[in-house]
């Protein structure tokens, strides 16, 4: 991320939150860092409006720290909880209309490929479960069919959280939410499988309880999209506000769901992606 957009006016220096000063002085800007280098600073500035214990805020922080090329990454988001955090993020960002994120990203990616033939420009879609699997599913899948070289990341909190907790396609069957007072009547959509069938070269389902795994998936997802074709990463980001658990229990919730087998972590690497990753590993040595 560029440092020059994060400058504090000298007269306001004293009143800025400590985390913000830390971010400006010791932040990850223009350094190659990963999730294990994260310090006290936050990539989202301190006043982001997400709730305490929000799995999405934590995941977003980890995702941003994992981006291999943040200075030249364009993030396309969509309406929802993630959208209200994005303005606070120091990367180029488009808040698209609800569900349109993958179509906007397709346009951006094609334009940048044409305008910057010699430069790497990563286009990463980060949107919630409602935007990805419900309202935006056609545009998400069509971008995969067209083999657009974009990374699609879903922040799955299993509900429409920003509107107060209604069921989404990603809610579990039986989940009691607003507009589903007697429980959701159909099962959670298996988007990783759909992604695989729709031509994604790399698919992963990860969670912030395992930051290193999440980082690896993001890096792989972005690199494979850069070279080969569409990739999909699903991140489980439980919502304490709408699923009514304590904010400090988010990570435990994830671990519990993984243990009981109701939220699988998976990884699919296509043969061509396998080859690419091996080549990149080789290059590092």
């Amino acid at each position: 991320m560029k440092k020059n957009i994060f400058q504090i006016s000298p007269s306001f220096y004293d009143v800025m939150p400590a985390e913000y000063r830390e971010l400006v002085e010791n932040g990850p800007f223009e350094k190659k860092v990963g999730v294990s280098d994260l310090g006290a600073f936050k990539e989202l500035s301190e006043e982001h409006p997400l709730c305490a214990g929000c799995g999405l805020a934590l995941s977003l922080r980890l995702i941003l720290a994992s981006l291999p090329n943040p200075e030249d990454t364009i993030i396309v988001g969509s309406t929802g909880c993630s959208a209200i955090a994005f303005p606070q993020v120091a990367v180029q960002n488009i808040h698209s209309l609800f569900g349109n994120q993958n179509a906007i990203a397709s346009g951006v990616k094609r334009a940048l490929t044409l305008r910057f033939p010699d430069k790497i420009k990563d286009v990463v879609v980060i949107a919630g479960d409602g935007a990805t699997v419900d309202i935006g599913l056609d545009m998400v899948m069509q971008s995969w069919f067209r083999q657009e070289r974009i990374t699609t990341i879903m922040l799955d909190n299993e509900a429409y959280a920003n509107t107060g907790g209604q069921e989404s396609g990603m809610s579990q069957e039986g989940a009691v939410l607003h507009m589903a007072p007697k429980g959701k009547t159909f099962p959670k959509v298996s988007l990783p499988e759909l992604a695989r069938a729709s031509g994604c070269v790399y698919v992963a389902a990860v969670n912030p309880a395992k930051p290193k795994k999440l980082e690896k998936a993001i890096v792989r997802g972005v690199l494979a999209a850069r070279e080969l074709g569409p990739t999909y990463i699903q991140v489980f980001t439980p919502c304490p506000t709408n699923y009514k658990f304590k904010p400090n229990e988010t990570i435990e919730k994830i671990k519990m769901r993984v243990k009981e087998g109701t939220y699988e972590t998976t990884e699919f690497i296509s043969a061509e992606a396998q080859e690419l990753f091996a080549r990149l590993e080789e290059g590092k040595k």
């Binding site: 906007i104 346009g107 951006v108 990616k109 334009a111 044409l114 420009k121 069509q142």
Partner: protein, 376 residues
């Protein structure tokens, strides 16, 4: 200067070629009658000229992809007809709000709904103005010939870039499918305004001081693009004074460049008593009336044709109303722009609608008969 070459072409083709010559290198669209030829032309022309053509899954995605490509620094076009134009409305509002240039062509057909897909109409005049929600400004051109389809598309691309404002071209099935002669200037003779990618260091994406060029993503400026009300840095805000200021700013852009945007053309008697005010294909029949009534019979008849219908040419209509007794407004709908004409005629002239909405053109005879009734 080399002579411009005459070429026989269709309105839809002229629109595609005009866009290409104005620097459009990105098209995303979905086939829909009677606009499909524009997309088909672009599918051939763009790859040949180093551009990108994508057939998208629907009109919503087409509009979204066009917006994305504009943010990535391309000049963009998409075309559709009534049903697809309805689908594009939400993203059209987004482009207005986020100040993303793009040109949207709507080749009108008979509506509502699926209507008569192959028959002409002018029923989307008010939708073009107010189709997307909120108090937005909009620019709408309505070409009356293949020649105008070509040049107004170029004007639309230029204005859209300059003002960072979507521009709509309301063609109709008649102009879209009609073939006639167009003079295409040789390469390099065309006025294509170049907006620089490189701008001063103190550039702000939505500068309160006024118009700022769009700096595409990738040119070193980091900002947030959103359909929410935002401050001059693109940061979302709900602060009442900032919201008001931002909306005023959107409208002020168009007010300031009004004379470049509003294009009209008057032909006929110098001191007319009866005038026709119309736009699009209906101008063709009206011209024939003027030819007969004025050029042949020297009757006090005139025609004000509107190439721009939104922002409405209020000044021109006001001036005309002071001169004439009667203004006739032929439209291929149940009466849409006639309300605006009446509003700006301010009681100075009697305003009479002439409507037809059966999918057939208003004939010169129909118009001539009505004009004759009001002549002194």
């Amino acid at each position: 200067m080399a002579e411009a070459k005459p070429v026989l072409m269709q309105g839809n083709e002229a629109c595609a070629l005009g866009a290409l010559n104005a620097g459009v290198r990105f098209y995303a669209g979905y086939p829909i009658t009677p606009s499909t030829e524009i997309a088909e032309q672009m599918a051939v022309l763009l790859p040949e000229n180093g551009g990108v053509f994508i057939q998208m899954e629907d009109e919503i995605a087409s509009m979204a992809a066009v917006i994305g490509a504009s943010i990535g620094g391309m000049r963009t076009l998409t075309a559709t007809s009534g049903p697809g134009f309805s689908l594009k409305q939400e993203n059209l509002g987004y482009a207005i709000m986020a100040e993303i240039p793009c040109v949207v062509v709507n080749v009108q057909r008979v509506g509502p709904s699926t209507g008569v897909p192959t028959a002409p109409a002018q029923g989307d005049v008010m939708q073009a103005r107010w189709g997307t929600h909120g108090d937005h400004p909009i620019i709408v051109f309505s070409p009356a010939s293949v020649y105008e389809a070509y040049y107004l598309t170029i004007a639309a691309v230029n204005l859209s870039q300059k003002l960072r404002q979507p521009v709509i071209i309301l063609l109709d099935e008649v102009i879209g499918h009609m073939r006639e002669k167009v003079f295409i200037p040789e390469a390099g003779k065309l006025l294509v305004e170049k907006i620089s990618d490189h701008v001063p260091a103190d550039w702000k994406p939505y500068d309160e001081k006024g118009l700022t060029p769009l700096v595409p993503f990738g040119f070193g400026h980091y900002y947030h693009v959103t359909g929410l009300f935002h401050d001059q840095y693109g940061f979302p805000t709900g602060d009442p004074p900032q919201v008001e200021r931002a909306l005023d700013r959107l409208h002020a852009k168009l007010d300031r460049y009004r004379d470049e945007i509003v294009l009209t053309n008057y032909i006929g008697h110098k001191e007319p008593r009866v005038a026709i005010v119309t736009y699009g294909c209906t101008v063709r029949s009206a011209r024939s009336v003027v030819k007969r009534a004025f050029w042949q019979d020297r009757l006090p008849v005139g025609l004000l044709s509107l190439q721009t219908i939104w922002p409405f040419p209020a000044r021109e209509v006001e001036a005309l109303a002071k001169q004439v007794d009667v203004i006739i407004v032929p439209e291929m709908n149940m009466g849409q722009l006639v309300g605006e004409v009446d509003r700006y005629a301010c009681g100075q002239a009697k305003v009479i609608p002439l409507n037809r909405y059966d999918g057939e053109m208003i004939t010169p005879d129909q118009m001539f008969e009505l004009v004759g009734r009001w002549l002194p």
